[in-house]
Symmetry: C2
Amino acid sequence: MLSMSRSTLITETMTIRNMLLKQTLQLTTLSSRTTLLQRQFSTSHPRPDIRICFLGDSFTAGAGDDTLLGFPGRLCSALRTDHALDITCYNLGIRRDTSTDILHRWEREVNARLKRNEHLNGRLVFSFGTNDSGFENGQRRVSTTTTLANARSILVRAKEMWPTAMLGPPWTSVEDIDERNGPLSRKLETLCEEIDVPFLSLYQKSEGNGVWAKEAKAGDGIHPNAGGYGLISKAVADWDAWEDFVRNGK
Amino acid sequence: MLSMSRSTLITETMTIRNMLLKQTLQLTTLSSRTTLLQRQFSTSHPRPDIRICFLGDSFTAGAGDDTLLGFPGRLCSALRTDHALDITCYNLGIRRDTSTDILHRWEREVNARLKRNEHLNGRLVFSFGTNDSGFENGQRRVSTTTTLANARSILVRAKEMWPTAMLGPPWTSVEDIDERNGPLSRKLETLCEEIDVPFLSLYQKSEGNGVWAKEAKAGDGIHPNAGGYGLISKAVADWDAWEDFVRNGK
């Protein structure tokens, strides 16, 4: 710089000044475009698009519930209104389904609902066991060994696809069913711990509940009505793993 | 009788008396057995077991409805509580589904839900069209010719399996969608008349509805909230074909 002529120095300074002015203009334009894009984005994507598939049996389908919500409807309605989450609920509970039935259908039904859009956040919630331990023609419909093998097969594959949780079979107020559901629930819990899938024992939450027992008696003998499904819904909503699972997939 | 001896007459009278006594006893036993059977039957089969599969797109799934009921939940809850029907509702609506998507999945999903028990009364309610007429990458997702071919294929097969009804695509408050949904709905109606499937135009029922438009604007721009889904539910409930379809499969 010291060897530059005065005129060269002036020219050089003007060049630098022009470069700075151009950059300032570019920065201003870029800044306002970014603000606009942010606003557009926050309007069209105000909340993450979360879609939960509930896969299970009649207790997931909500059999006997005059409100037609079941526990998935109650949970998802609360997530939309109390937690301002953009939730879509796919209730894939089927009455009389065993873990073997669910093994054969869950992946195709989930893929039809959660594979189209890479921006969506899928979640899978499984619940089964009561029909496995039920008897048909003098035989247990699905042996405990097979239930656990089915559960492992389903859950290991499921968590590779989407964040996955498991709810154990509930207490039902029917003595011989509950004598089988209790131990089965504990075995499913042990399996879930081993393969790192969040597990909630619905059995523990509904055990001995008078409302459930009363509603089941007034209904088909096993399924509750709004009170029993409200109880399950509350148990899941209060579960410490629930909100983080739904919101962040953890 | 006039030629009979007195002793023969006495013997004969006694025989007749004994026969009458036996018959009276039999009638009493039979009567109490019938009462018992009637009571058992009315306890174990108080109402016919009706299970409805609703197959469609986001409007069937109830996208945007904070109550999580959608129109199928509202309809079925009313059928259970107001009409004392034993209703199970399977909501098989999937967001973004076209008639082609539904063609490829409906039968498998219905069979998983309605084939197990010969005593159950299945019903199928289809509703699609809005995603067919939507545009993706500058092209209509499904041509009108294909939509009508898909609808024919689905509905002709469906009504061989279970009583089947069709609800046309709704008015959505989005001008360019409605310009396509209106004519498509009329073509689907003509097809349904031809193949003898009960058809209800949801388009006519929701057209110009202010609540729907307001809820869609506050939501994602297309889907309503509880008000719009309540409107569809009421339209179907008020449809003169509805109750006979559900109750008697006609």
